[in-house]
């Protein structure tokens, strides 16, 4: 309550003070006008009496250090009126005092209320006793002259109070000049300043209209002013036998001496990039006219392919057709592309077509995720609101896994909802669902920065409607403008797993194949690798060294039993197996669901459904998972996955409490010895898992 009353008091006091101030200024002006009238009517005594309290009041303010610069004109006018009145009343001493005061306030002030020679001379005598005169010539003439932070016209003599002064001469495109001068009373100082150019004004003449000029990777201006508008420009263009009406001028900023990267660009036209050397004209500093530039039209054949095909192609907001699509004579330049198929995903991105006859855009439709912004704790507030926040938003657009839509929600506290402790999970879930519906997105992404121990951390959370919890990706926040660590961590595409090849060096036998894709019959465990591409390898490091060569195809000469044979492999398909935990379950789920939606062949469908099933198991949706596994129709080539699929189904049945069905399937797996491994690597044996699960079901029951 006390605080409230104090606040009220402050408000009232301020208002009252302001009112008094305004009233005071009004009174002074009125008094000055009245005194002026008396002066004009030769009533100098009355004028003096009228103006005297005002001058004294200003003086008092000045003595107390309260005189504002805005008060100066009134103060000077009051002093002038009183000084001149005093002079006319024969009070020369008082007049001298007032005039001296005026001169100290503004040495270049000339008396305005009288043109009397006698008074003017008296005033000038006083000024001469206090000031010196500076005559300064400045080149170029348009340069600014600044003395003690005040701008002066250098074409007139300048009165300066006796003492030290700093003069500065400045003009854009020139090195600035500054000097200290000491001036004595009655002295006349002569100064001459010629500024040295440090850059040059340059004009570009470009065809067609609207072309953008980019200098040193920064946009300068567009060519919008026709060159026929000025005679110099028109003459210059004509000197190249060109029509000035066709060319448009860009009056660039002053360019410093040295090389500059110039780019002229316009959609549908070729792009010209060149280096412009700028030399300074120290004598005359004449502007530079660059030889007219003409851009010719540039198009390419744009091919758009998508997976899945038959997706709609929208470029720069216009619908062009369905994939696969070929667009002849398509304008070069930067374009935003959206390729989408109803309920099957979309692709959003930017392309830049330049200097090519054909441009192929091959995309996979991706899930779209909504980015709702960044929040932070107090210690890292600057990161969230500063360069990091905006750079993160910009760079998220380039991630490969998802399309990112930016939220247009006005609530700045929205990102906090997803990080603040104590916020109910159901609340978050509700918000995720409603925002994803509103923006037609499949997930929601939100960022934050925070301090953990001595480290600053940046974090991204991914929420998916209908599933509790979130995926969290963290990275150290090292550079406040570089979100690449965080984005890479989030976007990281796991190493492609193709052939799993693993070898070991046996003392007696050399390089032995330990592990390989069991479906490949050319190679078997225990084969001795004699040569790689014809080069003998006797140990593991030699084998790896040979694989490092540039050739894509690798021929392995292997010995099995008493015979040897050559096996060809594509090197890009050989990798060493590395297994790690994958935490990004929701990301995985979104991508797997996308794969199912996008799958076109039966093989792809099988793989995608299995993956989706696995993801769903992780997210706890066993019914959906089971239905995914039910959809897997294995054909002859994929039969080796049948035990794996059955095992995954068993896990779902068990979780759902359907032990009978689980046991039945386990027995089926146990009786089928054709594929001993889980999945398509030979890393995890299936039978121990099956027998263990079977006995556990029995024990439990």
């Amino acid at each position: 309550m006390r605080r409230f009353l104090f606040l009220i008091f402050i408000i009232f006091s301020t208002a009252l003070f302001c009112q008094i101030e305004i009233e005071e200024v009004g009174v002074i002006s009125e008094t000055l006008d009245k005194a002026m009238d008396l002066f004009k009517n030769y009533k100098f005594e009355k004028c003096y009496q009228e103006i005297n309290p005002i001058v004294e009041s200003f003086k008092k303010s000045e003595d107390q250090g309260k005189l504002q610069s805005s008060d100066e004109p009134l103060y000077k006018k009051s002093l002038e009126l009183r000084g001149v009145s005093s002079f006319l009343l024969g009070k020369e001493t008082e007049a001298k005092e007032d005039f001296a005061k005026i001169i100290k306030l503004d040495p270049n002030h000339n008396l305005e209320i009288t043109s009397s020679t006698k008074i003017t001379r008296f005033y000038d005598t006083i000024r001469d006793s206090l000031c010196g005169v500076l005559n300064i010539s400045v080149e170029p003439e348009e340069a600014n002259l600044v003395i003690d932070s005040k701008v002066f016209n250098h074409k007139m003599p300048i009165y300066l109070l006796e003492g030290l002064h700093i003069i500065k001469v400045e003009l854009l495109g020139y090195d600035s000049f500054s000097k200290e001068i000491r001036i004595s009373s009655s002295e006349t100082l002569q100064e001459s300043v010629k500024l040295k150019p440090n850059s040059r004004k340059v004009y570009f003449f470009i065809k067609p209209k609207g072309t953008k000029l980019i200098i040193d990777d920064k946009f300068s201006q567009s060519a919008d002013v026709n060159s026929s508008e000025k005679i110099d420009w028109a003459n210059f263009v004509s000197s190249y036998n060109l029509d000035p009406k066709d060319y448009y001028v860009v009056e660039s900023l002053y360019l410093e001496a040295g090389n500059h990267k110039i780019k002229v660009t316009l959609p549908c036209f070729e792009e010209k990039v060149f280096t412009l050397p700028i030399s300074l004209d120290l004598e005359n500093n004449k502007p530079g006219y660059i030889k007219p530039i003409s851009l010719s039209k540039e198009t390419a054949l744009l091919k758009v392919e998508s997976h899945p095909s038959n997706a709609k192609v929208e470029i720069d907001g216009s619908l062009y057709g369905m994939t696969p699509l070929e667009l002849k004579d398509f304008c070069s330049g930067e374009h935003s592309v959206r390729i989408y198929k109803e309920n099957q995903g979309e692709y959003r991105g930017k392309i830049e077509i330049r200097n090519v006859k054909e441009y192929l855009l091959k995309v996979k439709l991706r899930p779209t995720v909504l980015y709702v912004g960044i929040t932070s704790d107090q210690e890292t507030l600057n990161y969230a609101t500063g360069a990091f926040g905006s750079s993160l938003k910009e760079n998220l657009q380039n991630i490969s896994s998802f399309n990112i839509k930016n939220s247009e929600e006005q609530n700045p506290l929205l990102p906090d909802l997803f990080f603040t402790k104590g916020v109910e999970e159901s609340e978050q879930r509700k918000m995720v669902k409603s925002l994803c519906q509103k923006y037609n997105c499949e997930g929601l992404l939100v960022a934050r920065t925070f301090v953990q121990g001595e480290n600053k951390i940046a974090s991204l959370r991914l929420f998916v409607p209908d599933f509790d919890g979130f995926d969290e990706t963290n990275s150290l926040l090292i550079d406040n403008s570089d979100p690449s660590f965080l984005i890479n961590n989030f976007d990281k595409v796991k190493e492609e797993k193709k052939f799993v090849i693993s070898v070991v060096q046996s003392e007696e036998r050399g390089v032995i194949l330990l592990c390989f894709d069991p479906s490949n019959r050319d190679l078997q465990k225990g084969d001795k690798i004699l040569k790689v591409n014809g080069v003998s390898v006797s140990n593991e490091s030699e084998f790896i060294k040979q694989l490092r060569g540039e050739k894509e195809k690798v021929t392995l000469t292997v010995e099995r039993g008493l015979s040897s044979k050559d096996v060809d492999l594509k090197k890009s398909k050989i990798i060493k197996l590395f297994l790690s935990r994958d935490e990004g379950l929701r990301k995985r789920f979104l991508l797997d669901r996308q794969s199912v939606l996008s799958s076109e062949s039966s093989e792809e469908k099988i793989v995608s459904e299995i993956n989706l099933g696995i993801s769903l198991i992780y997210l706890g949706d066993y019914k959906q998972a089971l239905s995914s596994f039910e959809k897997v129709n294995l054909d002859e080539g994929n039969l080796f996955l049948s035990n794996s699929v059955k095992y995954f189904k068993v896990l779902c049945f068990v979780k759902e409490g359907n032990f009978e069905e689980a046991k039945k399937l386990l027995l089926e797996i146990a009786s089928d010895k054709s594929n001993p491994y889980l999945g398509n690597t030979n890393e995890v044996l299936i039978s121990p898992l099956v027998s263990d699960l079977y006995s556990r079901i029995n024990e439990r029951r």
């Binding site: 492609e496 465990k525 935990r581 993956n611 054909d635 999945g679 398509n680 044996l685 099956v690 006995s695």
Partner: protein, 360 residues
């Protein structure tokens, strides 16, 4: 038509990365674990217990769950031997291939050599020492702790240094077998007792006519008696378990690192059981085709590959998959007794007191 051929493996393979977590999920099917660190510890104990019980599928499953969390030598050891027990030899070698100690490298190389590639043993002589002929003629068994050799005859156990000089001896009446325990103490089985070092422990009266013994899990011992009974006793000779086996005339009992139990019958058949005495395999036919005479003694290496001594003083080596790997026979060096360290070295004594150390 394979999915590999069309390059469609990518997405599926990515999910295979989930397998470990997936197995984790399998572990949670019957949720019994609460705290993660405790869970890890208890899962490992569970895995070890399963291993010692011979329940290798369950041990494997729990070890797979632990794979992202554990990579110490103990864990690797259990996983390695579990994979061996499951017959996945190449996988076992592959598992230890990276990130392993010199000992592990040695083990995986040995496994690769003996069980994956079926390589022939070399029987390269590494050492040759001599002991008294009198002792050699009455020899019952030989063992070694790496530094010293122990030889048991009908009355005494002698400790020899590397040069063949007796450095210690103590009286053991009616000793039948000698072995070395984990503490590198000589363990001797006699008619009524077990000597652990020089410490004599009387066997319980239930064990009649003990004829063979070998190590059992948790520093315990299996004792085979003349009536076809196997007793599990602790180091104070307290009977922990008693089991009647159905093998006629069982004469020797041995265990490997997986604590699989190997029992040899008088008629030359080798019966193999898991640690809970569930029968695994019987090795007999393969032995017959190799002209083996009546087997008098045998040993197994770390992985259960048997080494047999027949009455003709020849040594035969097989692997667990019953592939014949090699034979040693020398007219001038007729093996009377041998000690096998389970790995690469075999020490054999002939009746003239010559002791040879072979590298296999």
């Amino acid at each position: 038509m394979s999915i590999f051929k069309k390059g469609k493996l990518l997405t599926f393979s990515i999910s295979l990365l989930l397998f470990f977590s997936f197995l984790n999920f399998a572990g949670d099917l019957f949720p019994s674990k609460v705290d993660e660190s405790k869970e890890i510890e208890s899962l490992f104990n569970e895995a070890k217990a399963d291993f010692y019980k011979g329940n290798l599928p369950s041990s494997y499953k729990n070890l797979m769950i632990l794979k992202p969390y554990s990579n110490d030598e103990e864990y690797r050891n259990f996983m390695f031997f579990t994979l061996i027990g499951l017959g996945a030899y190449f996988d076992a070698v592959n598992f230890l291939k990276d990130n392993s100690s010199p000992e592990e490298k040695f083990l995986s190389n040995l496994l690769l050599k003996r069980d994956c590639l079926n390589l022939k043993p070399k029987f390269a002589i590494k050492e040759n020492i001599y002991i008294s002929k009198q002792i050699a003629r009455k020899i019952r068994g030989i063992t070694s702790d790496g530094e010293s050799n122990f030889i048991l005859d009908d009355k005494t156990c002698y400790k020899f240094d590397k040069g063949g000089k007796i450095v210690d001896s103590f009286q053991v009446m009616n000793g039948s077998e000698i072995s070395i325990n984990q503490k590198k103490e000589a363990v001797i089985l006699s008619k009524d007792s077990l000597y652990i070092g020089k410490n004599k422990i009387y066997l319980p009266s239930e064990i009649e006519m003990p004829i063979s013994f070998c190590p059992a899990p948790y520093d315990n011992y299996y004792i085979l008696d003349g009536k076809g009974k196997v007793f599990l006793i602790d180091s104070s000779a307290k009977i922990l378990e008693e089991r009647q086996i159905l093998i006629k005339n069982a004469i020797k009992i041995r265990t490997d690192f997986l604590f699989r139990i190997f029992i040899l019958s008088k008629d030359g058949i080798l019966y193999v059981y898991d640690a809970s005495f569930n029968p695994l395999i019987t090795i007999s036919e393969k032995l017959k085709i190799n002209d083996i005479g009546a087997i008098t003694d045998f040993s197994v290496d770390y992985f259960g590959n048997p080494i047999l001594l027949d009455k003709n003083n020849a040594i035969f080596i097989f692997n667990y998959s019953q592939n014949f790997l090699g034979k040693f026979y020398d007219e001038k060096f007729k093996v009377k007794s041998f000690f096998f360290d389970g790995g690469e070295f075999l020490m054999a004594v002939d009746k003239n007191g010559s002791i040879r150390k072979f590298q296999l």
